[in-house]
């Protein structure tokens, strides 16, 4: 019989044991009686020869090998019974644990889905992103199309694919709608190792100029526009004014740096940038070929980048190529934030454990007599320890179970509230690994809070414990109590100071000047209708009409066009210098370059510092002009007046650019990020001077910005109506007010502040409960002693001071330890969080004052209660 069956048939086995031994006794008795011994003597002798009947049964049970399990079941039952008797304690303990464990589980679920799980592609560890790297600038993702083609052709170690953004307007079938799109190389699907759900991927011959337009559409678009019919493959739709044939349906949930609705072949694009080696707009993904090490791929890339640099020094000198694991590349923006939050949640869980440990310790001491009794009845120390740990494990697992239930409910809302894009969000699920984590967290927690009380068990001196009863507290347990509470306070200080730092940082950042007047400004992406773009000669005229129509909308004060909106994703940068003699290639300083219409300065409310802004006379046939921001002016020209001087940027324009004005710097990279960004110089140039071959492309990426006299969101609908265009295929999308964009640039900081704030308040509350609990408990145990003191003439004040004395030491120790730990944490946060200010003395002062006050109140209550006791009542408790 295996041990499980032995356990299962426990009752039958008990019966059989009884029967077998009984048979032995009866046999022995009968035999003795046959020898002439009388019945009573015979029974007695038989008994004696066998030894103690019940004891023998115990020995037989011991050899079954199921003893530990039976004990465990017994202990669990006992633990449940004691918990049921003490419902208040059980409720508090379970709530604390459930909160702590669910927090940790939610964070781990997210980390598991985003950071730990392999990408949902075959052999995901062979997938890499290929980045460019310039020693003075760092890494960047951009590839030019010629570079991509060369690398793809020459690489012996990598299968290389590419994608770039390529959204646009769908106009047939159904209403015009803007779609998120990507242009991809034909083999992107095969490099990733995925296949379309229906239909097929692109063919090599479709990835060329002049091939018939084909597209792969998303699962969502297929459902929306084609009602999910299988016959959609092979049907047609109009996108960006061209008729595309549906080649395939992408698998559901496909993402390429965000949602995608339409995929078109990159090679069919005809824009000038496709031939420009300086235009780096392509993301490159690659799969390391079988049998090739990543290091070999890196060496291969290094060779290719050196060759490109020699062959095309103008554009490629000093640019290296490097492969990064795709998974790391996808999640690098959120990694530190996620671990930071897990750490914070972990601290809350630790506080909850410390709190529980001191509660359980108090209970263990009250139960000293019970344990002494069990020890006296023969329970070994190991056995008692096991029982204690079983009790805490029951609590821990109960809390863990509740925690898992809570986290299944809360993980979706948490992910939804994430500021900005959380990569791989759709892969976040509660899987086996998460359950294992929750289980481990529960068990470790129960060990943490259960061990101290278990070690306090009476091992020696049982009779003393029995005799003395539950009155005195051993010095060691009081010290242990204090250690737990001090730890809690220290951890709470760490969280409070972190929260304080976030608050301080947020306040500082919000008070920064974004560089634009954010009130009453509305921005939206607005590509010109594909039909209008098809006739380059009239594009300028079409834009003029757009501006005039928009200006007619009631409530709109001024209107401008721009290709870059401050604090919104999507930018264009160029290298520049101030002499006709170029610096070594790719060593030039880099500036953000916006192509704008004359009213841009007025709409955005950017201050003009010197000279003039772009005006109506800067046209395609007049000399090219630029306006620079004061950062660029200071860096390039120092104190001298830059107006009238020239800039050179051959990749951008052959002839020199005349500087006509200087304007204020705009915090383009967000209030938090701008100070740390690589590109802080800014150049504005007239949209009217964009060379005609570039105009169709520019017209597809322009945005419109309007300054209003009314709340800006009120003009969205009238503006949309006014700008629909003759064919009804022009629409506004990504509609944002500047206030929203500025606010969103602090979302990460605000989100972290909110979470840390909640954690910190929770931590403070928990540690105050801890302080209160311990002081109340130790005081209640000291009441007889206090009674004697009162009888001997101690005043109420004296009693209060006496009781408070202990807690003051405890709080002081916690605050000291916490301050040191918080300072270290602060330095860490400064490195991890963009724009974080160093911890301020004032932050510490406020936080510590609040915590010490709260803790003092928590410990004063029981002290005050003790001082109000009648002497006689106190003494009678003896």
């Amino acid at each position: 019989m295996n041990w499980w069956r032995r356990l299962w048939h426990r009752n039958r086995m008990e019966d059989e044991l009884e029967k077998e031994l009984r048979f032995h006794l009866d046999q022995a008795t009968t035999e003795l009686m046959a020898q002439g011994v009388d019945r009573r003597d015979a029974e007695r002798q038989a008994q004696l020869s066998l030894g103690g009947f019940e004891q023998l049964k115990e020995y037989c049970r011991d050899v079954r090998g199921t003893r530990w399990l039976e004990d465990l079941i017994h202990d669990v039952r006992y633990a449940l019974r004691t918990l049921r008797e003490n419902l208040g304690f059980a409720a508090v303990a379970l709530t604390m644990l459930a909160l702590g464990i669910s927090g940790a589980t939610i964070m781990f679920t997210v980390i598991n889905g985003v950071l730990l799980k392999p990408l949902p592609y075959p052999e995901p560890n062979r997938l890499v992103a290929v980045n460019g790297v310039i020693s003075t600038f760092g890494e960047f993702w951009g590839f030019s199309n010629p570079d991509f083609s060369d690398v793809k052709r020459e690489s012996r170690t990598l299968d290389v694919a590419a994608w770039t953004y390529g959204g646009g307007t769908i106009s047939e079938p159904g209403n015009p709608e803007y779609l998120d799109g990507r242009q991809i190389s034909f083999d992107l699907f095969s490099v990733l190792g995925i296949a379309p759900m229906h239909g097929r991927a692109f063919r090599p011959e479709e990835d060329r100029q002049g091939a018939a337009p084909v597209a792969i559409i998303s699962y969502g678009l297929w459902q929306r526009r084609f009602r999910g019919e299988a016959s959609a493959v092979g049907r047609h739709f109009t996108f960006e004014g061209k008729v595309y044939t549906v080649a395939g349906i992408a698998p559901p949930g496909l993402q390429l740096a965000g949602d995608v609705d339409v995929l078109t072949p990159l090679g069919q694009a005809t824009e000038a940038r496709m031939q420009n080696r300086a235009a780096r707009f392509i993301h490159v993904v690659a799969r390391v070929r079988p049998g090739v090490m990543l290091s070999e791929a890196q060496a291969d890339l290094a060779v290719m980048s050196r060759r490109l640099a020699q062959e095309y020094p103008q554009t490629n000198a000093a640019i290296g190529l490097v492969a990064r694991p795709l998974q790391q590349e996808l999640v690098k923006d959120v990694r530190s934030t996620l671990w930071l939050l897990l750490a914070a949640v972990g601290v809350v869980l630790m506080i909850a454990c410390a709190n529980l440990a001191s509660l359980l310790l108090a209970r263990a001491i009250s139960r000293e007599r019970e344990f002494a009794m069990r020890a006296a009845l023969g329970a070994g120390r190991g056995r008692l320890t096991r029982q204690c740990l079983t009790e805490s494990a029951v609590l821990g697992l109960g809390g863990g179970l509740l925690g898992v239930v809570l986290s299944t409910i809360l993980v979706r809302p948490f992910v939804a509230s994430w500021p900005g894009i959380l990569p791989r969000a759709e892969e976040i699920t509660l899987d086996r690994r998460v359950l294992f984590f929750a289980f481990a967290a529960s068990i470790v927690s129960s060990l943490v809070f259960g061990l101290a009380p278990a070690l306090q068990l009476p091992g020696r001196g049982v009779e003393r414990a029995l005799r003395v009863g539950a009155r005195t507290i051993a010095g060691s347990s009081r010290r242990l109590h204090s250690v737990f509470v001090a730890t809690e306070i220290a951890l709470a200080v760490v969280l409070l100071v972190s929260a304080g730092m976030f608050a301080h940082t947020l306040i500082t950042l919000s008070s920064l000047d974004p560089g634009v007047d954010v009130r009453n400004v509305l921005t939206a992406r607005f590509p010109l209708s594909p039909t209008a773009r098809a006739k380059p000669a009239q594009i300028g005229q079409s834009w003029q009409e757009v501006l005039e129509r928009a200006r007619r909308v009631p409530g709109i004060q001024s209107v401008a066009l721009t290709d870059i909106v401050p604090m919104r994703v999507g930018e264009n940068s160029i290298g520049y210098w101030t002499t006709a003699v170029p610096p070594p290639p790719n060593q030039a300083p880099i500036a953000l370059a916006s192509s704008v219409s004359p009213d841009y300065l007025k709409v955005m409310g950017i201050p003009l510092i010197r000279g003039r802004f772009i005006d109506e006379h800067d046209l395609i046939d007049s000399p090219p002009v630029v306006v620079i921001d004061d950062n660029l002016a200071r860096r390039a020209f120092g104190e001298t007046n830059p107006v009238g001087k020239q800039l050179w940027s051959p990749a951008f324009r052959r002839s020199p650019l005349l500087i006509v004005g200087v304007v204020g710097h705009v915090r383009h990279w967000g209030l938090a990020g701008d100070d740390r960004s690589h590109v802080r110089d800014q150049i504005y140039y007239p949209f009217a001077q964009v060379p005609p071959p570039m105009l169709p492309f520019f017209s597809s990426v322009m945005s419109i910005a309007v300054r209003t006299q009314v709340p800006p969101l009120n003009v969205v609908e009238p503006l949309r109506q006014e700008l629909r265009g003759a064919a009804g295929d022009q629409s506004l999308y990504e509609v944002r007010t500047m206030e929203q964009l500025v606010g969103a640039s602090l979302n990460r900081e605000r989100f972290l502040l909110l979470l840390f704030g909640v954690f910190a308040v929770l931590a403070m509350l928990l540690s105050c409960i801890g302080v209160y609990g311990v002081v109340a408990y130790t005081t209640s145990r000291r009441i007889p002693e206090l009674g004697v003191r009162m009888a001997l003439g101690a005043t109420a004040v004296k009693i209060i001071t006496l009781v408070l004395g202990d807690s003051v030491a405890m709080i002081a120790a916690g605050v000291t330890g916490g301050t040191v730990a918080a300072w270290a944490t602060g330095r860490l946060l400064e490195r991890l969080v963009e724009g974080m200010r160093p911890p301020e003395v004032s932050t510490f002062a406020i936080v510590l004052a609040a915590l010490v006050t709260a803790a003092s109140v928590a410990s004063f209550l029981p002290a005050w209660r003790a001082s109000r006791l009648e002497t006689t009542t106190a003494l009678r408790q003896e």
């Binding site: 019989m1 032995r6 059989e16 029967k19 077998e20 031994l21 048979f23 032995h24 009866d26 046999q27 022995a28 020869s49 066998l50 030894g51 004891q55 023998l56 115990e58 020995y59 037989c60 011991d62 050899v63 079954r64 090998g65």
Partner: protein
């Protein structure tokens, strides 16, 4: 929890003796005790307190199997019999016991000769 060692038997021999007795035919606990006592002419005083735990241990290890059968007097008793594994164990244990006792005997006689 240790089984009290009332036996004067060397450690582990009780198991071997039980296996030997059971090998002669299915038998219940009381009879095993009796048989051991009789065969050893009362030299081996079977510690009855350790007999049953030993039987159960051997059963758990799969060396013995048990069935409930009627005795001659018509009562139900638990009869033990040897399993195949039990027989194999008995053979190896008997062999090693023989080797051991022979070795002990040799050593004892050698020391006797040395004293002369």
């Amino acid at each position: 929890v240790a089984v009290p060692d009332k036996a004067d038997l060397p450690q582990g021999t009780l198991d071997l003796l039980i296996l030997k007795v059971v090998a002669l035919g299915a038998v219940h606990g009381y009879a095993i005790a009796q048989r051991l006592q009789q065969v050893s002419r009362d030299v081996v005083q079977v510690p009855q307190g350790s007999l049953y735990p030993a039987l159960h241990r051997l059963e758990n290890r799969g060396l013995l199997a048990a069935d409930w059968k009627q005795t001659g007097s018509g009562r139900e008793a638990k009869f033990y019999r040897l399993t195949r594994k039990g027989r194999a164990t008995l053979d190896t244990e008997t062999a090693s016991w023989r080797r051991l006792t022979e070795a002990v005997r040799l050593i004892l006689e050698m020391s006797h000769a040395g004293a002369k």
